[in-house]
């Protein structure tokens, strides 16, 4: 840590040295200002400076913006055209006149420092300099290119909205705003990234949320000191509670409905400019197995799907290790016929069970990784190569047993049922710990690792909220909404484990 802070310190000095060669205040003369801006940005080809003369006073002025970041139509019609067509008017304070009467843009501000101007221009605003004036008009003309709203690829639902967040933070905020017309919906903006100056927005509903959580999130966000947060994943890693834990302590989602649901539960949603993944904090272990599908379907289906997901999580973690433990240490624990058929399928396999499992598990991980990295068109060949060539021929070559292929396949499929992808990959990692423990100590080892992980989970916190909620500390009334999905009539109150201010969620009409 010491070393790191030294480096940071050095960087700071460099940066401030760069800035110190420029004046902080805006110069009185236009020529100087234009030169300073040009010099500061390195006179790039996309920096557009349109010089013009204003009104009867014949004052020189310039419109400065960066091509591509702004809406050209807007600048032409609402700024340039308006200014040029109102040449005849004479006023003492030209800037104020333009600000009040001429420029037809709502988001407009007066700034006085060079820092603000350069940041504004780089964010897609248009700056209007007027000669012999210390103030600059900054007009919000940012547009930039971004993709349209699509169905989120990473979290699909059968029944539910098909909209997903995109890279543009303003669109993302509006997606949340559209669904919650509550004046208490708050968006607190920070900027992170020493060089990127990205907008990061903390969203919550005042009146529901426990303000301690919001304050803690804000405190942690302010501590971020980085050049550029390339995704919300980096922010997550900056503000998470334990970096050694295999479990994700902050949720992420691409779905506005999930974000909204979390807000209404009394959580905090963090939106970052440039990424479609927003962060949800705090989360608990059990919530990573929740899907919106549970709430969209009727309660019986929702509950059974949820229970199924707990089962598949169990399979994804334990199945290979149970296989190792039972086959090498405790064959008496399986029914006789099953153990005989496993023994029969293992006849002629040259490896011990552990090696066999590890070979297949790693093979699967390789296939999985390759499947993600490859372009979609080639991706399907991975399935063929993996499923047929490796699976089938490994068995017929006698390297692995058919039972092992079944176990690997079942484990793989089971691990994909976890809705939170970051949790699913954690489970994959834990599986290997269990496998090693099973190979060394059998079921005893599996239980030991299980206990170790339980101790870890109980100690783990997400933004200061225990990860093992609502089990420990016990909030038994929240189980009906968090562990299973009870009928709506039984879910009148918000889960209370976050100590929400407003407990009522639904009211029965009389």
């Amino acid at each position: 840590m010491k070393r790191q802070s030294k480096i940071n310190h050095k960087k700071n000095e460099e940066l401030s040295q760069d800035n110190s060669s420029f004046p902080i205040e805006i110069s009185h003369y236009l020529e100087d200002n234009i030169n300073i801006i040009k010099k500061m940005l390195g006179n790039p080809s996309d920096l557009i400076i349109r010089e013009l003369t204003l009104g009867n006073q014949r004052k020189k002025a310039a419109i400065i913006y960066i091509n591509g970041l702004i809406d050209n139509q807007l600048v032409q019609n609402n700024v340039l055209k308006e200014i040029l067509s109102n040449q005849t008017e004479t006023k003492t304070d030209l800037l104020d006149y333009l600000y009040q009467k001429i420029i037809a843009i709502t988001d407009i501000s007066k700034v006085k420092t060079l820092d603000d101007v350069s940041f504004g221009i780089l964010s897609g605003n248009t700056a209007l300099y007027i000669n012999e004036t210390d103030t600059v008009l900054l007009m919000g003309t940012a547009s930039g290119e971004h993709r349209s709203i699509e169905e989120p690829q990473s979290e699909r639902l059968i029944r539910g909205p098909k909209a997903g967040f995109i890279e543009d933070i303003n669109t993302n905020i509006s997606l949340i705003r559209q669904d919650i017309k509550d004046p208490n919906l708050r968006f607190e903006t920070h900027h992170i990234g020493r060089r990127s100056k990205q907008k990061i927005v903390v969203s919550f509903i005042a009146g529901i949320v426990n303000m301690n959580i919001v304050n803690e999130v804000n405190r942690r966000l302010k501590s971020i000191d980085t050049d550029y947060a390339f995704s919300s994943g980096e922010v997550e890693q900056w503000i998470q509670d334990s970096f050694l834990s295999p479990f994700p302590q902050i949720g992420d989602t691409e779905r506005p409905d999930r974000a909204i649901q979390s807000l209404l539960k009394g959580k905090v949603v963090i939106l970052l400019e440039g990424t479609p993944f927003v962060l949800i904090a705090p989360i608990t272990l059990v919530e990573t197995f929740h899907s919106l599908e549970d709430d969209n379907q009727r309660w019986l289906n929702g509950t059974s799907l949820r229970l199924l997901r707990y089962l598949t999580a169990f399979i994804a973690i334990f199945l290979p290790s149970l296989y190792i433990a039972l086959v090498t240490y405790h064959p008496e624990m399986l029914p006789a016929k099953l153990i005989f058929s496993i023994a029969a399928s293992r006849e002629g396999v040259p490896f011990p069970a552990f090696v066999e499992v590890v070979i297949m598990a790693i093979t699967f991980e390789i296939l999985h990784e390759a499947g993600i990295r490859l372009p979609k068109i080639i991706g399907s060949t991975i399935g063929i190569v993996g499923g047929l060539v490796i699976g089938e021929s490994a068995v017929s070559a006698g390297i692995v047993s058919p039972i092992m292929v079944i176990i690997t396949a079942l484990t793989a499929i089971a691990s994909f049922t976890t809705p939170q992808y970051s949790m699913a990959i954690s489970l994959r990692l834990l599986r290997f710990c269990f496998m090693i423990a099973a190979a060394v100590f059998g079921l005893y080892g599996v239980i030991l690792v299980y206990i170790v992980i339980n101790i870890h989970i109980v100690n783990l916190k997400s933004i200061g909220v225990p990860y093992s909620l609502p089990f420990a500390p016990l909030f038994i009334k929240d189980w009906k909404g968090l562990v299973i999905r009870s009928p709506l009539m039984m879910l009148m109150n918000r889960p209370n484990y976050l100590k929400v201010t407003d407990k009522r969620k639904r009211r029965q009409t009389k």
Binding site: L244, V327, T328, Y329, P331, E332, A336, K337, I339, F340, S341, I342, A343, A344, S345, R346, E347, G348, V349, P352, A353, P402, I436, A439, V440, F441, G442, G445
Partner: protein, 392 residues
């Protein structure tokens, strides 16, 4: 949370795990599963010095595998035998022939040959290893064979690959009333400890591919050996008395009537009515429920089921009488679980007579058992049979 020497600590933990672990690990393909055991008298045993012959049936997994291409005619089992003084020692001798670790926790059946159990106390002695060793389960089934027990472990029917599996499922099949319930090792052990008398399944070889489970072997707890065999018919009588005949048939074939009833339910209740030691009196109430499954009788079972019930009562009463007579006079052994009843309901009486219940003084033999049989025909079958057709 900064741990000093973290790599060193990791190294310690890893070596602790990797260097010490795996000591109980035996790969599946290195185990030989003992699935069935047969205990015989060795050929060279003399009257006073018994030599036992133990046969272990080991599973050959590759013979079981039906999924592999091409039907292999490989045997799915391997029988190994040795003779010696005691079973554990013999088993150890057998392991000298086997390349894999012998593993007995999946043991399914133990078959004793008749001649072993006929010897007083030898059965009890040889059973000790099966209850004392840790890796034996209480659910292992025990049966008695007519003739050599190891011959049974060679009988392979077409649909089953392992003789032991065949015997085990055969014992479990309770569709006939003429067999006893499978005897679990745990129960057997309890009976032996309490010195109670009981019955054991009795198996004999029918032909090369089948074994028949018919009748029971009667074990006298005090004498510590088999005192005789009850044939199938009398076993049915015994099962009806104890209330175990929940399936099977009773057929009646006299000159004037011929029908078969299927038993679907059987309850029995025994009561002690006279507590005088030398003249114990028991009142036995037997309830049997049946279905007419086949009839050539002139009575219509639909309208006149009472006639059928009467016939059945007669038949069952005589069967029970026959059975009681055989048990009291010939075998002189309590096979009706009256001992269990007395122990549970009349403990002081039982304490005073248990030494002489079915040995010595033999109060069982002297007691008087009166039977009350009640038969219900639950339904007459599907066909609306009517032999007295009116108007053709």
């Amino acid at each position: 949370m900064h741990i000093q020497n973290a790599p060193l600590i990791t190294l310690y933990i890893l070596s602790l795990l990797l260097l010490t672990g795996c000591w109980d690990s035996v790969e599946l393909e290195e185990r030989a599963f003992i699935y069935g055991v047969a205990v015989d008298l060795a050929n060279d045993s003399t009257k006073n010095d018994y030599q036992l012959r133990l046969t272990d049936q080991l599973v050959v997994p590759s013979g079981i595998n039906t999924t592999s291409e091409g039907v292999t005619n490989q045997k799915a089992y391997r029988n190994l035998s040795k003779s010696g003084d005691n079973l554990f020692d013999i088993n150890n001798k057998i392991s000298k022939q086997e390349n894999r670790t012998m593993f007995a926790e999946h043991l399914e059946v133990i078959i004793f040959s008749e001649e072993v159990v006929m010897q007083p106390d030898l059965f009890k002695k040889s059973l000790d290893v099966f209850t004392r060793t840790q890796d034996m389960r209480r659910g292992i089934k025990v049966a008695i064979s007519k003739g050599k027990a190891n011959a049974l472990l060679e009988i392979v029917p077409e649909d089953v690959k392992l003789p032991s599996e065949y015997i085990s499922t055969l014992l479990e099949n309770q569709r006939s009333a003429e067999v006893s319930y499978p005897l679990r090792l745990g129960d057997l052990n309890e009976y032996l400890l309490m010195e109670l008398s009981f019955v054991m399944p009795y198996l004999y070889i029918l032909d090369d591919e089948s074994i028949e489970n018919d009748g029971v072997a009667v074990f006298n707890g005090k004498k510590g050996g088999i005192v005789g065999i009850l044939n199938g018919t009398l076993t049915k009588g015994r099962n009806i008395i104890t209330g175990d005949a929940n399936s099977g048939t009773i057929s009646i074939s006299a000159d004037d009537t011929k029908f078969t009833a299927e038993l679907i339910d059987n309850k029995s209740k025994i009561n002690l009515v006279n507590e005088k030691k030398n003249n114990l009196k028991f009142q036995l109430e037997v309830e049997v429920t049946g279905i007419i499954s086949e009839t050539a009788d002139k009575n219509n079972p639909f309208t006149n089921s009472e006639a059928y019930e009467e016939e059945l009562v007669k038949k069952i009463s005589s069967l029970i009488k026959q059975t009681i007579e055989k048990a009291q006079n010939e075998l002189q052994t309590d096979i009706f679980k009256i001992n269990v009843y007395l122990r549970n309901h009349h403990y002081t009486l039982w304490e005073s007579i248990k030494e002489n219940w079915d040995t010595g003084e033999n109060y069982f033999r002297q007691s008087d058992i009166s039977v009350d049989v009640d038969v219900t025909i639950e339904h007459s079958g599907n066909t609306l049979y009517n032999s007295e057709k009116e108007g053709g």
